[in-house]
Symmetry: C2
Amino acid sequence: MKTDEDFMRFAIKEAEKALEIDEVPIGAIVVCDGEIIGKGYNLKERDSDPTAHAEIIALKEAARKLKTWHLDNCDLYVTIEPCPMCAGAIVQARIRKLVFGAYDSKAGAVGSLYNIVEDERLNHQVSELKGGVLAAECRKLVQDFFKKLRNN
Amino acid sequence: MKTDEDFMRFAIKEAEKALEIDEVPIGAIVVCDGEIIGKGYNLKERDSDPTAHAEIIALKEAARKLKTWHLDNCDLYVTIEPCPMCAGAIVQARIRKLVFGAYDSKAGAVGSLYNIVEDERLNHQVSELKGGVLAAECRKLVQDFFKKLRNN
């Protein structure tokens, strides 16, 4: 049985793929019955797509595989706290459990600026929420990326 | 020179296309220099895609056409107040002006439950925001859809 940390390492692997092509290194996976059915990393620049965040890509892949947008039995793991768009997408997809790595004090919508995935006014809330899993590792990837960018 | 009402009528036309295939009738367009460069309507059921809202589809098409995710000079028109996911996507795309039809008291994130597109803590805010344009017409489309659904 895999732990949340185990699954987060898969999300970190996705983030590392973004790094290789100079995208902000954020990665996500969707897990259903212990199996990874969606993976994604940030592709905003490469795809010229404002919505191409790791979470959105992973959610879309999972939905394609299950042939439904209802991902009620699915869990999402992402290396950085989701932004409002991605937190909203998690609600749209009816994700069961959300696990994220580092908090994002500037744009995070799952505790930092908002808490969209637990807002009882919306028609869905996640059943389980865990932030801070392998946070240092997840944060370091992004910090190193921006440090390198500033030095170039 | 087209008015906001003129452009909203194009968004309504998109909503009507959703109606024809039994999707929730919400439509959106993206306008750049007076020209429509992105169009979309809700395709969540048909595409089994939790992110396939009108706004997301229109934003993606506009970005594909302009070959960039920076839609700084673009305006978005949508028949219903955007949800958190779509409001977040509008911020991600750096949309200039947002015009919507009917308010959505249950899930609206542009005045009703949140105001994500004018949140100064995020790294972008729309320069202009107008809600309630042709609101009665936009609302009626959705209300009639759900009324019919309940009667079936």
